[in-house]
């Protein structure tokens, strides 16, 4: 399947089917968003579109990763999915394909693609944010598998999820990143409690997750024991490639809406110009990344630049929205106002999640500028 053929086919299909999949006017609560995400994924999966760009071994139809980039952007631009919750597919499916036992990947990945299931990513802990190598959630060998005890936090969608890609400490704490093991955990295993956390933007997007003597079969190990750090490091470039292309589509959509609704004189032309340049620069950068992925190149530290740029662009777009619509965002409570407010607030997290902008600069200094260790 060529990209041009895919584009034409998908666009035509969406023209015909989008009205049945479109959200209602105004704000939609996360429960509803999750329901609609599943509905949209099932529809595009059953029509075949969602299967392109994924290997046949996991229920895909093969073809370039560019097809996935195009699909997610098209769904986002039409407002059919919210790119944050959609992105879990792009982040977690490649990890399963690369590190899970092939039979397990073949069984599970189609469920994620089709929207039958939600998965989450359990990395951060109360004492482990930026310093991922210090994580402490323990897994020890038991008779029937790993026995996990500990806590994760800020785990997006954990309270909706059927599965979790979990990082655990199997070595000593001193072994730092060498003593980490990744595993694929069923969220309904006895001993797991996920408690949603209310967040600033009004949607309980993430949760704290407690593990008490949770048994995870050894076959669920992703990669080898002690290889968890590599699993995590290989996952991060995915978090900064296809998923970010989708985010650019969303930001473009919203920036156009800012232009549509901004009252005359509300915006400083120099700022409008700069935000547009930033967003278009991010898009150009990300396009290069999509093509490198398509050519099979290994993505690594240079995607930190993509992450810094998308975060800057996202905050700039919503800063502009807040300037254009100050009264609406600050004082009003109707659906559209609530949505602008929620997205403006959510944009504040763009420089925090997925590795903070400071951490990205550390990576750029260390890996791309080769400045040596910082201590």
């Amino acid at each position: 399947m060529e990209l041009s053929e895919f584009k034409a086919g998908l666009d035509a299909w969406l023209d015909e089917n989008e009205s049945a999949l479109a959200p209602p006017e105004g704000i939609e609560h996360l429960d509803q968003q999750m329901v609609r995400l599943s509905k949209v994924k099932a529809a595009v999966y059953d029509a075949g579109w969602m299967r392109w760009g994924w290997p046949e071994a996991v229920g895909g139809l093969g073809g370039s990763t560019l097809l996935r980039a195009y699909l997610g952007a098209a769904l986002t631009e039409r407002g059919l999915v919210e790119p944050g919750i959609y992105s879990m597919t792009e982040v977690l499916a490649p990890t399963m394909i690369d590190y899970a036992d092939p039979a397990l990947a073949a069984e599970m990945v189609p469920r994620l693609l089709r929207g039958d299931e939600t998965w989450c990513q359990g990395f951060s802990e109360p004492d482990t944010g930026s310093n991922l190598g210090s994580l402490a959630c323990r897994a020890v060998r038991g008779p029937d598998g790993w026995v996990v005890n500990g806590q994760k936090v800020w785990t997006s969608l954990a309270h909706y999820a059927q599965r979790c890609v979990l990082l655990t400490r199997t070595g000593t704490l001193e072994s730092a990143h060498r003593g980490i093991t990744a595993m694929f955990v069923d969220m309904d295993t006895p001993g797991i409690t996920a408690r949603p956390i209310e967040s600033m933007h009004g949607h309980p997007e993430f949760a704290e997750v407690f593990f008490e003597d949770v048994v995870v079969p050894f076959e669920r190990t992703l990669g080898q024991e002690g290889q968890g750090w590599s699993v995590a490091m290989d996952l991060l470039p995915f978090e900064r490639s296809t998923a970010l292309w989708h985010r650019a589509a969303f930001l473009h959509h919203r920036l156009q809406q800012v232009l549509d609704v901004a009252p005359d004189g509300a915006l400083d032309p120099a700022k409008v110009g700069e935000v547009t340049q930033l967003l278009y620069a991010f898009r150009a950068r990300s396009r290069g990344t999509q093509w490198r992925l398509h050519r099979g190149e290994t993505l690594a530290a240079e995607t930190s630049i993509d992450k810094v740029l998308v975060a800057a662009a996202e905050q700039a777009v919503f800063d502009l929205a807040e300037e254009a619509l100050a009264e609406k965002i600050i004082l009003e409570d109707d659906g559209p106002a609530e949505r602008w407010r929620s997205e403006f607030l959510y944009s504040r997290a763009a420089t925090i999640y997925g590795g903070s902008s400071e951490i990205q600069r550390n990576i750029i200094a260390r890996r791309l500028l080769d400045l040596g260790n910082d201590r």
Partner: protein, 324 residues
């Protein structure tokens, strides 16, 4: 041009730029002559993107000077690779540097020393009706004064005066295209110059010891350098996009981003180089001077950004997005 040819081409240009440098300053005439020998001007017509991006990046990175920008603008304006180098607009402006006034053509723009020696220049002319054309003018008919200013190394010459319109051989001219291509060329030069500053600041950060360790260990220093790289990559991505989509608006965004990257490289680079970077001897000041000059050529980052914003607020319509 395949990857291997491009690599060879790029190496030859870099070699020529290095050969033209020396203790007595950069020999722009020698560099121009090498470019002619390498067939660079013909290559521009056949492989515009490769030739322009390669030369101007290297020119920026090595702080070289040539008449290449004047030649590229003349080619983009007239379609002829052998057209004499063009007079550029006054600093900050992107209007043609000449206009019709009665039966005269009034010129006020920037040439450079090589153009003066060549004897003839291409003059972009705004016509009374609002269209544009180009004229070939004998250098002797213009008043010329060499510019020292902030960046004497740029070898610019201010060119003014009125020439009889009848003496000026007139052609069609696509000025918008000349501005677009000129901005891409200057954008690449700015990115190259920013990389030049970054390389010098990086090297210094690794060598300079304070508090018993290389200053490259300090996060404040590391992040300043990382910021430069981010700005450079931002501009580079937009330059890429501008070559791909061929639109004026993307080229203008790319030029603005490149100017901003240059100014950031100058500010952060100078801060990291500190005292030594402030000396005549260190040399980074030459890159900084060039960056400040280039940011103003064919529209500065500040004016282009504001201009884009004003247009968007008037049309209320974002430019088309670069397709996948």
């Amino acid at each position: 041009m395949d990857a291997e040819d491009l690599e060879l081409f790029s190496r030859s240009i870099r070699h020529a730029a290095e050969a033209a440098g020396g203790s007595s300053g950069f020999d722009a005439g020698a560099f121009d002559a090498s470019l002619a020998d390498l067939g660079w001007h013909d290559a521009v017509a056949d492989f515009p993107r490769e030739s322009i991006s390669t030369l101007f990046s290297i020119q920026g990175e090595t702080n070289a000077t040539s008449s290449a920008l004047h030649r590229v603008v003349a080619w983009a304006l007239t379609g002829s690779p052998s057209a004499p180098g063009a007079i550029l607009p006054r600093l900050g402006s992107w209007q043609p540097p000449a206009r019709e006034a009665g039966d005269q053509v009034q010129v006020n723009g920037l040439a450079n020393t090589a153009l003066v020696e060549a004897g003839e220049v291409t003059v972009p002319v705004a016509t009374a009706g609002g269209a544009n054309r180009s004229a070939t003018v004998t250098v002797g008919d213009l008043q010329l004064s060499p510019v020292k200013g902030l960046d004497a190394g740029a070898a610019l010459v201010r060119a003014t005066g009125s020439v009889p319109g009848t003496d000026a051989k007139s052609n069609e001219g696509d000025w918008a295209n000349a501005v677009r291509i000129g901005r891409l060329a200057v954008g690449h030069e700015l990115v190259g110059a920013s990389r030049g500053v970054l390389a010098q600041a990086r090297e210094h950060a690794l060598e300079r010891i304070q508090f018993g360790q290389p200053i490259a260990r300090f996060q404040a220093v590391r992040h300043k350098l990382a910021e430069i790289l981010i700005a450079i990559e931002t501009a580079d991505a937009l330059l890429d996009a501008a070559w791909l989509d061929g639109t004026d608006v993307t080229a203008s965004m790319a030029k603005a981003a490149a100017g901003r990257a240059g100014r950031l490289a100058a500010r952060n680079g100078q801060q990291v180089l500190a005292g030594i970077g402030f000396t005549e001897e260190h040399g980074v000041h030459r890159w900084i001077r060039r960056i400040l000059l280039l940011d103003e050529v064919l529209g500065s980052s500040r004016t282009l950004t504001k201009d884009l914003g004003s247009n968007l607020l008037a049309s209320r319509q974002l430019p088309p997005l670069l397709p996948l």
